[in-house]
């Protein structure tokens, strides 16, 4: 332990502490732009300068030393901070009033904090990169903090972004759509400003609502509810699902359904697929296929392993093809008039919905994907105050769900849901305890062995593409010991998706995961095969898992990406 | 100029400040600061309100301008009847641009919206008196009336 004096206050801290951490303990927040709680020290913005024994140094890089005297706020320090900030502001567009990160921007907040009143402004107007349906990069707004690069390379191991010639950008300055980008959007969560954001499609939604001939239906992904509360100033997970439904009706949705419904359906299809592969000697380990960022990743980096993927479409796309067939038929609605909107925690879902093959219903299966953030914007735009809203039920036929559907939102959830069903199907017994806690939590790779009446199934769960890569290297080498692997592209699973509220730090993600399992625990039905509307769907329409209709509407194939 | 004396007849007229401003402008064609202050005192309203009124109406000017105010209608009917040629002719004749006054302080040239003489477009007014079916040839004679 080392004692240092920060602004005249004596603090004793571990020797590994940076000055920034020591100052925080003494009660002084040292602002910074490039610093991120989950990432490495970047030391790029130089905003965190402090006076250490009379010298100006960055607080994020300096570690404490005995007898150190630190001053975090002197006229000289402030002048230096302002000078460094103005250096960044100099080339930053002054368009806060039209920026997607207005009022949720670290640069804007810092400018206010440091009382910037004037600065030299020489804007370099660079083009916006709109080459993907998922993400928009606005290079003009980049402040060179490097956080996106670290996330893309170190956490996701995608390597679409790099720092070269002092510029943070795509590899070889190529449009994002021509890089290895999997559109997971983790970069958007890391960005302190508006340099990388989701492709906002609010206006398309508003136009659909304004069109009296259109029936606007929506599905809500499992991870959305817990996080959307954060967008409207409520605690994580505190928004009641049925009030959320009421809020969505206020926004103009004609029918509100739940992706949880097709999550349950996925379990029946995918569980049976797994059993079939186990029984009939199919390609193993089988890999889950719900996460479009993950699909993009495997198509790009492990094209030769595509056979391992379950042929199941993601719940979003299963839903899309069913709503314009099964539901339209039952409801007596012209499918041509249905405008199918999905609310997703995910930016890659925008890409998935736009895939050319995703039109098995005879129409675009999903017309529009809105992220949690975009729905948050809509809720704020329409002034929705959830507390005042009478709870409203989901619409029927595709609105019922079980706890198994809910936990799809967290890493390990698909695995746990599958195990709940597979166990009962194989053994014919009721599970004594539906909680498979060994697959829960935020750690990158989790594994378990499950005894199905004598057959031991080995499973693994990975979240973040860096973790996925580890498991895939085993698969590729033929050394994978697993029968079934769940992969979620984003750290923590969908609750940490690229479309989720900003910030999405590990702490935020953990809170959301907890909220997911709390919801699961509260529900009367927690096993997918108990979902009454799923049963009805098989009785009335699909007949059986992996049947002909299922194959047409619920399954797909994958193609290698040649980047 | 004794502004208060000019405005006195309107003093007891509720809301008579607009009439009072008209009266002052009859004498000197625009409203000076002193005139506005005098009006505010006379009508017992804040100066800022008197100023607000003086700058709201297009007939009032708070800037010095020529004695005889020529206003050219440029509303649609006059516009299609050739108001632009009349404007050009006036500018040429007086040697000033729209919005300016002649150096001798005799004329001010201003745009006006419709003056309600649309049976005889294009129309100009001088000190409120309308002249219809104006064209470039007629202008010298009209101006001569104000020599």
């Amino acid at each position: 332990m080392i004692s240092v004096i920060v602004n005249g206050i004596n603090v004793t801290v571990p020797g590994s502490y940076t000055v920034m951490q020591a100052a925080a303990l003494a009660g002084f927040e040292i602002p910074s732009l490039c610093n991120h709680p989950d990432l490495q020290v970047q030391d790029r913005c130089k905003i965190c300068v402090v006076d250490i024994n009379g010298e100006l140094k960055t607080a994020c890089t300096e570690t404490v030393a005995p007898g150190m005297i630190v001053k975090t706020f002197t006229p000289r320090v402030l002048e230096e901070k302002r000078k460094n900030l103005k250096q960044i502001l100099r080339v930053h567009p002054q368009d806060c009033l039209q920026c997607a990160r207005n009022q949720n921007c670290e640069l804007q907040a810092l400018s206010a904090t440091l009382g910037i009143r004037s600065f030299e402004h020489k804007l370099l107007q660079l083009p916006r990169d709109t080459s993907t349906p998922s993400l928009i990069r606005d290079q003009s707004k980049c402040i060179l903090c490097g956080r996106c690069v670290e996330v893309c390379n170190d956490i996701q191991t995608v390597g679409a972004l790099e720092i070269k010639d002092g510029i943070v950008g795509t590899v070889d300055y190529r449009p994002l759509g021509e890089t290895k980008c999997v559109m997971c959007g983790q970069c958007a969560l890391a960005c302190p400003v508006g340099a990388i954001i989701e492709n906002e499609e609010i206006d398309k939604f508003l136009a659909a609502v304004a069109d009296p001939d259109t029936v606007v239906v929506t599905q809500i992904a499992p991870a959305v509810r817990v996080a959307v509360a954060e967008e409207v100033g409520m605690r994580t997970g505190s928004l009641d699902m049925l009030q959320f439904v009421a809020g969505l009706r206020q926004l103009g949705f004609d029918y509100v359904f739940h992706t949880n419904f097709t999550a349950d359906l996925t379990i029946l299809e995918e569980g049976n697929e797994l059993l079939k592969r186990l029984k009939e000697g199919g390609v193993l380990p089988m890999l889950t296929s719900c996460s479009p960022g993950w699909i993009n990743f495997i198509e790009t980096f492990y094209p030769e392993q595509l056979d391992h993927l379950s042929t199941c479409k993601s719940p979003q796309q299963m839903f899309g093809s069913l709503v314009k067939t099964y539901w339209a038929e039952k409801q007596g609605v012209d499918p041509a008039k249905i405008y199918s909107v999905s609310i997703m925690p995910c930016t890659a879902k925008k890409y998935e919905a736009a895939r050319p093959e995703m039109n098995d219903s005879g129409y675009r299966d999903v017309d529009l994907v809105l992220t949690t953030r975009e729905v948050g914007k809509l809720l704020r735009m329409c002034g929705i105050r959830f507390k005042q809203l009478e709870p409203s039920n989901f619409d029927s036929l595709m609105g019922a769900y079980t706890g198994a559907g809910v936990i799809f939102g967290a890493s390990g959830g698909v695995m746990e849901a599958a195990l709940r069903t597979v166990y009962e199907v194989v053994t014919g017994k009721a599970l004594a305890d539906v909680n498979f806690t060994m697959v829960r939590g935020i750690q990158g790779i989790k594994e378990a062995e499950v005894d199905l009446d004598g057959t031991v199934v080995k499973v693994a769960v990975a979240n973040s593409l860096g973790s996925a890569r580890q498991l895939m290297e085993q698969v590729k080498a033929g050394t994978s010991p697993y029968h079934f692997i769940e992969v979620m592209c984003c750290p923590g699973g969908c609750i940490g998706g690229g479309g989720q509220p900003i910030p999405s730090t590990v702490a935020d993600r953990t809170r959301r995961i907890n909220a997911i399992y709390e919801e699961d625990a509260r529900l009367p039905l927690r096993k997918s095969h108990d979902n009454p509307e799923v049963k009805l769907l098989y009785d009335d329409f699909l007949q059986e898992p992996l049947g002909e209709k299922s194959h047409k509407l619920l399954h797909t194939h994958y193609t290698p990406k040649n980047q | 100029m004794d502004y208060k004396e000019i405005m006195a007849p309107y003093q007891d007229l509720p809301g008579g400040i607009i009439e009072a401003f008209h009266a002052i402008q009859k004498e000197q064609s625009y409203l000076t600061e002193d005139a506005i202050i005098a009006a505010a005192e006379l009508f017992e309203i804040p100066v800022k309100d008197a100023y607000g009124v003086a700058t709201f109406y297009s007939y009032f000017s708070v800037n010095s301008r020529g004695r005889n105010v020529i206003r050219i209608c440029e509303s649609a009917p006059c516009h299609i009847a050739g108001a632009n040629e009349v404007i050009a002719a006036l500018e040429k004749e007086l040697g000033i641009k729209m919005g300016e006054s002649t150096p001798d302080g005799k004329f001010a040239l201003e745009f006006a919206e419709c003056v309600g003489q649309c049976q005889a477009t294009p129309v100009i007014t001088i000190n409120g008196k309308p002249y219809g079916d104006v064209n470039a040839e007629k202008i010298p004679a009209i101006l001569a009336e104000y020599e």
Binding site: - | G15, H22, P77
Partner: protein
């Protein structure tokens, strides 16, 4: 061949406007006398029954309006004659006041009796100083003759603000303020001039009243179109043979107005467009010429009767140029109080200028449409709500003119 029907202009050109005796000899002030022999409610009922609707543009039933003011309890009420005829292309109120001022005074006095007001104002636009003189003379004569009884009328002069044609802006102006409209409700019949119940009627409306009292509401209701009975005074301007003022029954069609009364297009050219109702009116293409001029028929055709100005344009006219000029008018005349009008009129003009200069794009036209749509429903008063009408209707009906100027 359609024929003029002179109700409002019954004495126009027949009497000396400066001789009250002429007016009285022509039967003037008898309606007022008759009204005063009736109960207030009967007078109002007679006017209501006539179906007379405001001739200033809004088309509200006059009797109903009077009834609101009659019902309102107050120690003082006012009648205001709106003579702030500011719509470009309109001079019918001037014609009425210049030709037959007493018909207006009599109409005001009848209204005053009906609602219980002893004081009237005529708010005459600043562009008509000579009319103000004439009205003052007429009022003096009427006072001398004692025909107005205890009803007093004062003339107030505007000072160049189109927006003062809006009744609450007009009231503000009489009160000596900036002519900015008030938000409504409260409406003037409940709270108007100095917060008192006030009727603001247009010159033409008031000039119609004596005849209605004299011949009966039923008689008037039988004239013209049933939903908007009576006659309408129109002023014909632009590329029409007869630039003149006419009065016709309200079931007359636009075609009849232009060709029968106006003598058709001047110079042997072909018709292109007509803008009716003043500068905020819709542009009407040939295909709609058979529309009747009454309020409801015009509304159904996406147009308005407005003040009754009829601006005819021949085939040579550049619609975009004319609309650009109109947009400048609104930029100049917006009072600046409400944001969509203050900013919107300026943007309409800027965008029209851009298009007119051949620098515009299809996106600019789309933006004009959006802006116009919003202004027409969100502005505080009629000025901002109507300002986009020429733009929107020409984009709709004269698309080729716009396309020809696109970049």
């Amino acid at each position: 061949m359609a024929e003029e029907m002179r109700v409002v202009l019954r004495n126009y050109g027949k009497i000396d406007p400066l001789k009250i005796e002429d007016y009285i000899n022509a039967g003037g002030y008898q309606a007022l006398e008759k009204a005063r022999s009736m109960s207030q409610t009967d007078v109002i009922e007679e006017v209501r029954k006539s179906g007379l609707r405001g001739r200033g543009g809004a088309g509200f039933n006059a009797g109903q309006k009077w009834n609101f003011a009659f019902q309102a309890q107050a120690d003082q009420k006012y009648v205001i004659c709106n003579a702030d005829e500011g719509e470009p292309g309109t001079y019918k109120d001037r014609t009425i006041m210049q030709g037959d001022p007493h018909s207006v005074l009599e109409g005001m006095a009848i209204c005053g009796y009906a609602i219980g007001a002893s004081k009237g104002y005529i708010y005459c636009r600043g562009e008509y100083p000579y009319v103000v003189d004439l009205l003052n003379q007429a009022i003096d004569q009427a006072r001398e003759k004692g025909v107005l009884g205890d009803f007093d009328i004062e003339v107030r002069m505007g000072a160049g603000a189109y927006v003062c044609g809006e009744e609450t802006a007009l009231i503000e102006s009489i009160e000596g303020h900036r002519g900015e409209p008030r938000f409504k409700p409260p409406y003037p019949p409940v709270s108007g001039l100095w917060g008192k119940p006030t009727i603001v009627n247009n010159v033409e409306t008031l000039a119609s009243v004596p005849v209605i009292l004299e011949k009966g509401g039923d008689w008037y209701a039988g004239l013209g179109a049933a939903s908007y009975p009576g006659t309408k005074v129109l002023t014909l301007t632009g590329d029409v043979v007869n630039k003149t003022v006419i009065e016709v029954p309200t079931n007359t069609t636009i075609c009849e107005v232009i060709y029968d009364f106006g003598g058709g297009i001047a110079g042997g050219k072909a018709f292109k467009a007509v803008q009716i109702g003043g500068t905020s009116g819709a542009f009407i293409p040939e295909s709609l010429l058979d529309t009747q001029i009454d309020f409801d028929s015009m509304s159904a055709a996406g147009a308005s009767l407005g003040s009754g100005a009829v601006l005819v344009m021949d085939e040579t006219r550049d619609i975009v140029d004319v609309v650009c000029r109109i947009a400048k008018f609104f930029e100049h005349e917006s009072c600046g109080k409400c944001a969509p009008c203050r900013e919107g009129t300026m943007r309409l003009h800027k965008l029209m200028n851009k298009l007119n200069a051949g620098e515009g794009s299809a996106a600019d036209i789309a933006l004009l449409n959006k802006l116009g749509r919003v202004m027409s429903v969100a502005c505080l008063c009629g000025l901002g709500q109507a300002a986009p009408s020429p733009v929107l209707t020409t984009i709709k009906h004269f698309q080729p003119d716009y396309n020809a100027k696109l970049q």
